[in-house]
Amino acid sequence: MSWSMNEVEVLAKKAARGAGQSWGLAEETGKAVRMLAGQGIEATGHLATLLKANDGVAFHTIAPADPDGVWSASGGQLCPLVAGACLSDRAAEFGVDRDLTLDHIAFPVFLIPFAQAVARQTGRTIRLNWADVYVFVDGALVWVDGNVQSLSISVVVSAEVSAVDNTTGRALDKTDRAAMTQIAAAELTGFAQRTYAPATDASRLAGAGAGLSDND
């Protein structure tokens, strides 16, 4: 079964909100998953795993404690969506040379969409590196050099982000249909359900448009 980009984005957004993210961050999570899907990177399963791990966890324990230094979380593991948002908020710092180290971060693949936003804002090419893979974003494309499998790593000891002048490797092909496993869909739907209010007879009658009969 193929999914539209819109479906994947909306599901990811609602799931992120259901798992406790603010609406603003949840919107960015939805866009991040959509962007990755558009590059053929299926991140919905990773999102489900990440949301389960951070379900109910306080924001400041998975956020960079000191954004001016090495980024690490007081709880021991950075959330890549929180770190990614923090990264794009500080895009201007990458207009000039800035090397950023992120210490103990889950699913670093989620940094890619936020780094792309930095690239667009600054006009620089941004290089991300963890384990044995390098990812370059130049505002339009995503380039991968090294071990593509390492894009799926669930946690790395450190990831590096810097502004560079060149790309290496191969640009990923874009796609306009999204892939998502049934398991990931079910898990994300489970989180998304938390954003829906339980139905009651009263809400059914009063809450929406027509009453129970609207024949004309």
Partner: protein, 565 residues
């Protein structure tokens, strides 16, 4: 943050004035409405229309295919007609069966496509579609009118004109889904095609073809029932049927969820108004045309019915305003220097909101050559505006909040009325609803649809922040990301934000619905409650086969020979 003035000097209206719910709830269709943009294009590009399939039995069950062939692409409405038991008929999102279900297919479907669609389209949200499907929709019959029309035609008679006028449609759509919903193609997939760049062209084309199908259907059923005596509809009466729509809360959040798009819609219309107001003079022909449209607007107001007290009052006001306008024009014919600007400035003082917004639409009517190109500016690259600028200074964010959300900062959000409502989604078929905060346990499920209150909360947390990039503020207050993004969007796109409390006790969701529906090109807004409205689409419009020979854009106001009885 005033918008740039029009190059010839008349400024665009201030967003603080335009983006009020009461005014938005008084918008009328105009030249820049999406249905009209569509029909002008279908005619100017000489689109061809074919009907590759029509297989419906005497019980009204079967399928049909209507194809629109444009210069580069073809689009096919695939319609499935059903035998719906009356007790199952409902316009609500929670319905599970309908009189007719539809999809707009990208191209011309083959038998395998139709077989696949037959398994899925009748199920609507319970089915799946692919990237070859551009929209999915459904419609229910008007119980008052459908059988009457079939029976009359079968007996060799035209249906009763009064009943037709009262209802205005044989079927009404209850939802039209596009943009990737249910697995359909994302808007981005086709937005590059010139014919689909303007907003909602897929959905409008789908409804236009649906109307053709519905009219063919009643004539077909009459003929099957009584082959020897059945007649077809008289052409003028046939055109007077539109497609109804039952619009509820699902549509209301759209304007708040798409701020850049909303800005571009509003800005295009405001730009059009400014262009007409800036004209140095008006030719006698243009003045005569304007008079003509004013008279047709009077007929429109006279034949526009509703029983809802809010709308009854608005219609009384509109009729009085049009009478005032007609008398003013008689005493002050538009002549001399910048006559339309003088008329407009008078209208702003002398008329109510319905009257003012009606005059806006009327001013554009004679000037298609001057304003129609603004339709090209009504789409939006929302992705471009999405990113938060974390380098913005705290002092700038504070100043923007004080400018754009001044009205919100002056509301006492602690009062019960100020936050009386909660927008939420019910787990029951994911139906959008509006509840009462104090009466139901729905606050934990609140959707981000109150920018005013959220801006006030953010502004409070901004107090005491030292100046510097807001990135630090956002890290310490992540819950404000959503509203900070909105403030930054509204700073660049002046009409992006509704300057009104969208969760107050007296907020009328129908104001939001009407604003969007006016842009669609809908007419005859008939609220059935404060959150549900019936409308008519393409009433009096030509049919596909009429476009080549006749007018494509002269149907949104009644012709003068139609007189209310």
């Amino acid at each position: 943050m005033t918008p740039d003035p029009n190059p010839v000097g008349v400024a665009l209206r201030d967003p603080k004035r335009v983006m009020q719910l009461a005014r938005m709830g008084s918008f009328h269709q105009c030249r820049l409405s999406f249905m009209r943009i569509l029909l002008r294009r279908l005619k100017s590009e000489s689109w061809r229309f074919t009907r590759p399939g029509f297989d419906i039995n005497a019980k009204g069950v079967g399928h049909a295919v209507y194809t629109a062939h444009g210069p580069d692409h073809s689009y096919s409405l695939v319609a499935f007609a059903h035998d719906l038991p009356p007790e199952k008929r409902s316009d609500r999102v929670i319905a599970t069966a309908w009189d007719a279900t539809f999809t707009l297919f990208d191209g011309v479907p083959d038998k395998a496509d139709i077989d696949r669609l037959r398994l899925n389209i009748p199920k609507q949200e319970a089915g799946r579609v692919t990237g070859r499907e551009l929209s999915v929709s459904r419609a229910n019959r008007s119980v008052r009118l459908f059988d009457h029309v079939v029976n009359s035609l079968a007996a060799g008679q035209q249906p009763d004109a009064g009943r037709v006028r009262d209802v205005g449609y044989l079927m009404r759509t209850t939802a039209v889904y596009g943009s990737g919903k249910l697995g359909a193609a994302d808007r981005e997939h086709t937005a590059g095609r010139p014919e689909l760049r303007a907003p909602f062209q897929i959905e409008m084309l789908s409804v236009f073809l649906t109307r053709a199908f519905v009219l063919d259907l009643v004539e077909h059923l009459a003929k099957l029932r009584a082959p020897d005596t059945a007649v077809v509809l008289e052409p003028g009466l046939r055109r007077s049927f539109g497609i109804g729509n039952s619009t509820g809360l699902g549509l209301a959040p759209f304007l708040m969820n798409h701020p850049v798009l909303l800005n571009n819609w509003i800005a295009a219309r405001e730009q059009a108004l400014a262009r007409v107001r800036s004209l140095p003079l008006a030719s006698p022909e243009d003045v005569a045309r304007f008079h003509h449209f004013v008279q047709r607007a009077q007929v429109n107001a006279a034949t526009w019915h509703s029983e809802h007290p809010v709308q009854v009052e608005k219609l009384t006001g509109l009729r009085a305003d049009l009478e005032t306008l007609a008398r003013h024009l008689e005493a002050n014919p538009p002549e001399g220097d910048m006559p339309w600007n003088r008329l407009w400035l008078w209208a702003e003082q002398a008329l109510g909101l319905e009257g003012q917004e009606q005059v806006l639409s009327l001013l554009l009517e004679p000037y298609g050559a001057l304003v129609d190109d603004l339709g090209d500016q009504m789409d939006a690259d929302e992705a471009k505006a999405f990113g938060i600028d974390g380098a913005m200074n705290v002092s700038t964010l504070r100043a923007l909040s004080e400018d754009i959300y001044d009205w919100a900062l002056n509301i006492d959000w602690a009062t019960a009325d100020a936050q009386a409502r909660v927008w939420y989604t019910s787990e029951e078929k994911l139906e959008p609803r509006l509840g009462e905060r104090a009466e139901e346990p729905i606050e934990p499920y609140e959707q981000p649809l109150c920018p005013g209150r959220d801006a006030a909360r953010m502004y409070t947390d901004l107090q005491g922040e030292t100046d510097g990039p807001i990135a630090g503020f956002l890290l310490r207050h992540p819950k404000h990301r959503h509203i900070v993004r909105r403030v930054q969007i509204a700073a660049r796109y002046p009409y992006a934000e509704i300057r009104d409390n969208t969760i107050s006790a007296d907020m009328l969701p129908i104001d939001l619905l009407r604003a969007k529906l006016a842009y669609f090109g809908a007419t005859h807004f008939d609220p059935r409650s404060d959150r549900w409205v019936r409308i008519n689409m393409f009433r009096n419009a030509p049919f596909p086969q009429d476009l080549a020979q006749g007018e494509a854009d002269d149907w949104t106001l009644p012709p003068l020979k139609e007189v209310a009885s």
